[in-house]
Symmetry: C2
Subunit: 378 residues, 2 copies
DNA sequence: GTTAACTGTTTAATCAGTTTAACAATTTAT
DNA sequence: ATAAATTGTTAAACTGATTAAACAGTTAAC
């Protein structure tokens, strides 16, 4: 499969098809060598407004910023001029002066499909919505190794690109995070050095407990776990609760019940392969995220094991469009959108001078669908 | 299904769980009321560097910008001071003066899962990679109705947030696009008013031809089409080629072979339902994107029709992680990553003063997988 | 009737850079 | 030897806002 059929050209190439340069190494840009647009319509500045309104620029500025020292009459008069001239303050000048950019950065890990990922996407939606409401713009960056090496993450602050940064998808392995300790930043959906950095994350312990309760109540006793990124504190939370809950139920955890699925679809499938071969008695799988759960189900079904009749599978995330999977996935719902909202909110209040450490943990809940069932008695 | 199990709280709530405010209406922000961080470490400015190096700030600036009028010796000496002091130029001041922000905006449609969408994600990856190489940052916005109404898309330029804008996922229905005509902007993967705006899009005509060729060669004659967004020129391209190719093969297109699938999974399923009931003889479906194709396959399989034995399905997009679908999807590969790269490149050259209209069309190819087969003779 | 307090506005400094024009010091041409 | 051209550096103007301090003009207090 994946064979390519050679395609012929469209019959009417009425549109020019231009060759694209495809340089791979970074391109040096001389900031100054750029030609200034000749026909750039002269922007209206605060001076123009001041002149037109017959007041000083300080007055216009104060009107703009609703300074109470400006009288009602002047305010109205100046505002009218502002509106009629269609004046919009240059925010570069505003930021230069006020020291606030009203821009936040979101840093994503250097994964190939980071921008197309449902997990990040959901968090991003929350961040974007709240940032907009708080009057902030969003800058998106991917923390490639080169990016970190060049200190671009620090430049973000130092060169005044942004007021604060939200870090998604990182864990304690990503040591560059500690470079940002001195600036406003929130680690999203993880912890770091247990309390050294501000963070907001889902209650993975609660989620794990809900998932394990469900499986145990359904009578499962041989429960495998497809985990990932054990260097991540929140991922470890799940592993720990998994172990604790089994032990509390009087079940001794076997080493052979654990496999790393790398948070990917393929990884989930491979882990399911490994686990089912290492221990034929496994009747249920707890997976660290939905992607691995789906990979596992795909593998199981393709190898003649019925889900959930032969083996139950529980995921983690509750990615929306997976609700249509067949069988639909029982999973721990993580409030990812709300997590984004919370993170954004916390970051902004941090920027505005709030000094307490941020450490929010959002509750989860289990969504029971079709991939789990009562254990089959033999 | 989708019933929720009530979850109990984690046993050790060692981390404070703070209540979150959840305001829904926009929050007024007074730019000036923000307290300036007291302990802000005094940033090093160009003046400090100049003093330390014993030259004027003009010289430092010229060193920074590699102005050739600076002698080799001075350059080295000043650069050494810059490095030793860890000086990083404030880009607000640079941009204020140079009139270039080195920031691009990406505007996405106001869809719920725009950030988690594989189609947008792939384009975004391309844009992000190339923008980084060209020394540009990326601002991401969602064009909600309110956003447009308030003219925020124009503010992006007028207030000097960005130098240019990339518009993803819009079509001729989105009239706000014409507001941006006078500024550097590229419409990505569509046209507008056929040539009024700069654009870069995939060759949907070529793609449609490749898909139809494939189905016709496999012997299909009753081919249904699940389209979407007929207000989109590129979507219309596909519809037109579909019709033309059938006609060229001596097949009269029936009205009942067409259904709108809204570009969604559910829409695809609903359209498949409609089409198969309107015309029992349909043996193949051409779908406007992969999501609808998958929805259609899901519907068909759930209703006892075998894919591809009973009915072949071809998609459009070639979304990566769908390669694992079962059956895997035969689809038209759109070079979305390259599209992002091209769009970004074109935008930057536009910003730098290139005046020719941008009108790139990138070639597609068919990826033959398991969802298509030779037509079943009865 | 002078002083004090309050209002509303403006002057001028500041944010941190870029860039033009001027200038001194050399080098080259006549 | 003098004028012209070249080279490297700098002073000063400029980008477009904010804001502390100064300043009139009223009003209130004693």
């Amino acid at each position: 499969m994946a064979e390519k059929l050679k395609g012929e050209t469209t019959e009417s190439p009425d549109i020019a098809r231009t060759a694209l340069t495809s340089t791979t190494e970074p391109i040096q840009v001389n900031f100054n060598a750029l030609p200034v647009e000749e026909n750039a319509p002269d922007r209206i500045s605060i001076r123009d407004v001041a002149k037109q309104a017959g007041v000083s620029i300080a007055t216009v500025s104060m009107v703009l910023n609703q300074n109470p020292r400006i009288s009602r009459g002047t305010h109205v008069r100046v505002q009218r001029v502002i509106d009629s001239m269609g004046y919009r303050p240059n925010r570069l000048a505003q930021s230069l002066s006020s020291r606030y950019t009203q821009v936040l950065a979101v840093i994503l890990p250097p994964l190939r499909h980071a921008f197309a990922d449902a997990y990040f996407g959901e968090i991003l939606s929350g961040i974007s919505d709240r940032a907009g409401k708080l009057g902030h713009k969003l800058l998106i960056e991917q923390a490639k190794p080169q990016y970190i090496k060049e200190g671009k993450h620090i430049e973000l602050y130092e060169r005044r690109f942004v007021d604060g940064v939200l870090c998604l998808g990182f864990n304690e392995k990503h040591t560059f995070l500690s470079d940002l300790r001195q600036y406003p930043m929130i680690l999203v959906d993880n912890r770091f050095g247990d309390g050294l950095l501000d963070f907001v994350h889902c209650d993975y312990r609660m989620g794990a407990k809900q998932a394990m309760n469900c499986l145990l109540q359904l009578g499962h006793r041989n429960i495998g776990m497809i985990y990932a990124a054990p260097e991540s504190p929140t991922a470890r939370d799940v592993l720990e609760v998994y172990t604790t809950e089994l032990r509390n139920a009087g079940i001794e955890v076997k080493e052979s019940w654990l496999a790393d699925g790398c948070f990917t679809d393929e990884g989930g499938a491979a882990a399911a392969d490994l686990l089912t071969h290492r221990d034929k008695d496994i009747t249920a799988l707890l997976c660290g995220n939905d992607k691995m759960a789906l990979g596992a189900i795909r593998y199981l079904v393709e190898h003649g094991r019925k889900v959930p009749q032969d083996i139950s599978v529980v995921g983690f995330d509750d990615i929306q469009h997976l609700a249509y999977a067949n069988p639909s996935l029982t999973t721990v719902h993580l409030p990812l959108y709300e997590l984004g909202v919370a993170a954004c909110e916390r970051l902004v209040s941090r920027i505005r001078g709030k000094v307490d450490r941020v450490a929010d943990v959002l509750p989860t809940h289990l969504v029971l669908r079709e991939s789990t069932s009562i254990v089959r008695t033999r």
